[in-house]
Symmetry: C2
Subunit: 194 residues, 2 copies
DNA sequence: GGAATTACTTTACATTATGTCAAGTGAAGG
DNA sequence: CCTTCACTTGACATAATGTAAAGTAATTCC
């Protein structure tokens, strides 16, 4: 069954997620996932051609489970650019820790595998679109700081809200999640809002 | 000869550097480096215990060749905190592209190898010290924005000046090196200088 | 009720890069 | 002449991904 809805397929996805969560996204092998799902290693390959395919499918699975679309919608319906920016940072910034482990595994592949790099890039483009939408909203309100073009502001916001930046601040520098959100919101308002 | 100054050892380091530069830090094997250096693969292991050791040695080799210490000195002798911050961003920010390929190879290992993670962390701590020094100078002048503690400002500057952030802006978003430097300097002044 | 299909298991193997091991070579130096 | 040093040569261990082929047990179809 190459279908996207199969009991086994879902068990594998859940196992992959849990396994990555337990190990913070590193050192998880196909055989570990298979074992956790209670199937043979080959069964995994029956549902996912490669490890990369499985990881990508796991991020999509998480997006669905976690209802990220709905959560991002709050920022889309914000009354003005400024509050939209704040809401977007809240929604995306708080989603990062929930997907971090799976994202980490994908980022690890990214470095050595060109196909994985493309896949990760695609996923991150979605975030960039969110950034762009927030900046555009600000611009439409005539509230975007003159220091930045729409393009530049989008790029900068995208970097600030990257998984890597989140990782460095919360993991390496020990910031709490609340501090991260608060500071990012304050920083974004300080530099982007006129 | 386990010495740090040996003709062959230096040839290997140079070959590693060139090879990584040519391939942007990915897909470079020990055998490729050996071939380029004109020695056997085993000769490389005679001088460097592991691939990680070789990569770390290559970054140190680059630091020396490029004279990074001297270049960072300019920021240390700046007359005031504000100019010190600007000078530091100029020095470090312009050093990143010169070491990027080697750094990339190290960052790739970082994801899977705990020892590599430690090594990379150590190298990045040096950058953090530079950030801390610049922020401290600003603070001594009574010029640090009230929005940040010294600690927080250091962490934030460290993220902004991380290799990952540079990578995303210049590689993924297509910023020129000059744009990167200018914007980082302007941003840092805007948020950190009172 | 027998045949075919489906989903999965089991076992074995190819691949690729790192790192180890042991024996050999050729030149420099006492 | 003999030893030591720096390096070479070739073989092997390891670890994980991915492939291949044959087998099994349950369901479905006629």
């Amino acid at each position: 069954m190459a279908d996207t809805s199969s009991k086994t397929r879902n068990r594998i996805l859940k196992a992959a997620w849990q396994m990555l969560e337990d190990n913070q996204g590193s050192g998880v092998r196909m055989s570990d996932i298979a074992k956790r799902a209670g199937v043979s290693r080959q069964a995994v390959y029956l549902h996912f051609e490669t490890r990369l395919d499985l990881l990508v499918a796991t991020t999509l699975y998480l997006d669905e489970i976690k209802g990220i679309d709905k959560r991002l919608e709050a920022s889309r319906t914000a009354p003005d650019g400024r509050s939209r920016l704040t809401a977007f940072i809240d929604a995306w910034g708080n989603y990062i820790p929930e997907i971090y482990s799976v994202a980490k595994a994908l980022m690890t592949l990214e470095a050595t595998d060109a196909v994985a790099a493309e896949a990760w890039k695609g996923r991150m483009q979605a975030v960039r679109h969110g950034c762009a939408a927030a900046i555009h909203a600000l611009d439409r309100d005539g509230q975007l700081s003159a220091t930045y073009t729409v393009e530049q502001a989008t790029d900068m916001l995208w970097v600030l809200l990257s998984v890597r930046s989140w990782e460095q601040l919360t993991r390496d520098s020990g910031w709490s999640q609340a501090d991260y959100i608060d500071h990012m919101q304050a920083l974004a308002r300080a530099i982007f809002v006129r």
